[in-house]
Symmetry: C2
Subunit: 230 residues, 2 copies
DNA sequence: CGTTATTTTGATTTCTTTCAATCGGTGTGG
DNA sequence: CCACACCGATTGAAAGAAATCAAAATAACG
């Protein structure tokens, strides 16, 4: 299911020149590798992925899940290189932009430039939320929070159908995102299912009690963050 | 100890008009309150603070420590409101900017605007690191990592004297930053001291073995991030 | 259908938190 | 100068949460 991006008419010509092309990524493809320089940034048209960091001791922290509409690689765009990796979980279709043109954009499209900063700020906000969850919530709260959040995001980009949305990750991915062990994640997931709150199988997340999930996950009542413009 | 900001000659006039004034904040002052709108952004000239989020259940996650040279409030600047609070820990001297002028800056100073995005990206990178630490490292690694990082940052802004630097926080603040209990933080700090790695008392951090600290904290060998330009 | 990857369980160990006090400074008022 | 209140640091003991270990059950796949 594709997402259509709200380009303003005026910007279309410039953006099209900024856009280098489209790209297809198969599952498992490394879009970015931590520490590597990259000449491109991407906007996700369809498919899903993960951002993550790897530690010297082999452990992995999933920084976030990548959904359609997301911009990936801004860090590489402005800092020269990525400080985390990004991998395609499912097949993905990407809109490719040229890093070298980024500064042009700042000179010719101040409002687009502003949008980029905005996106970075939103990303920062999301990371703050994640940090808070990982740092301060217990296992069941973490899982509840993450499922609630994922469903809400899916809904925002039109991927949810009723109370169901695709969730094409492995439990290990969720565990690595929340700082839990696989086993404990599994058991907690089961507990959530037994409580009649949510159920995840066959890459599909089924919400049974959104209210209860939000309550358990101590989800903040946050008005929807405006959609990214690029 | 003040930090001098590297304004380019050319930009001086504009930046000065952008700058609204200076401000003094006493310890305990709330610079920003989560969810509140704000008309200003600040650059820290001197003093230290904390960024944090508060949960419904009363727990607190410290998102980061604010040092001289830092820009705070960018989120409010571009998103309209802050998603976390910022509090002065010591007395602080701040350079105040006007939020309403922010968009002007994007139109007249593309390179300054780029710097802002850059800063946001750096912030995102730091948060990713913190998330990784909180999610994947054990207590002693967390503490080692955080002390190492704090010392390194202090050094970068010229606050360190030899192997010592000011660390005017409470153990509770560190605990809340790392997702540990106060008690455990205390015990772990002691362990670190017994290992001859680092010692923290009277608001001063004394590093005894930077190497060992880095090793234990699994600190990545990351080249210094270029200093912010604003 | 055999092989591999992911999910699920149970038992056990390790790490953290919680609870309950004590200790040490600091500031105040007498 | 001392009694008293207060706050942060420190300890010990006990309870609790999550990780690790080991293995079985399922699902996915060529």
């Amino acid at each position: 299911m594709d997402v259509f991006l709200p380009f303003a008419e005026d910007d279309l010509r410039f953006m099209q020149s900024f856009k280098t092309g489209e790209m297809q990524a198969e599952p498992g493809t490394q879009l970015f590798i931590e520490g590597a320089k990259s000449a491109h940034l991407f906007t996700v048209l369809s498919g899903m992925g993960v951002r993550y960091k790897t530690l010297e001791n082999g452990r992995r922290q999933v920084i976030g899940f990548v959904l359609p509409g997301d911009l990936v690689g801004l860090q590489a765009g402005v800092m020269g290189e990525m400080r985390h990796s990004v991998e395609a979980t499912t097949a993905m279709r990407l809109c490719v932009f040229n890093r070298s043109r980024l500064f042009e954009l700042y000179q010719n499209q101040p409002d687009r430039a502003f949008d980029l900063t905005f996106l970075a700020a939103v990303e920062e906000h999301f990371l703050g939320d994640a940090l808070t969850t990982v740092g301060q919530r217990g296992a069941i709260e973490k899982i509840a929070w993450s499922l609630h959040r994922f469903y809400t995001r899916s809904q925002a980009v039109g991927l949810a159908k009723g109370l169901r949305c695709p969730l094409p990750y492995r439990q290990q991915d969720l565990a690595d995102a929340l700082g839990l062990s696989l086993v404990h994640t599994n058991k907690t997931l089961r507990r959530l299912k037994d409580l009649g709150l949510a159920e995840w199988s066959n890459n599909v997340l089924q919400i049974n009690d959104l209210e209860g999930l939000a309550e358990l996950g101590l989800v903040e009542i946050t008005e929807a963050v405006p959609r990214p413009l690029i």
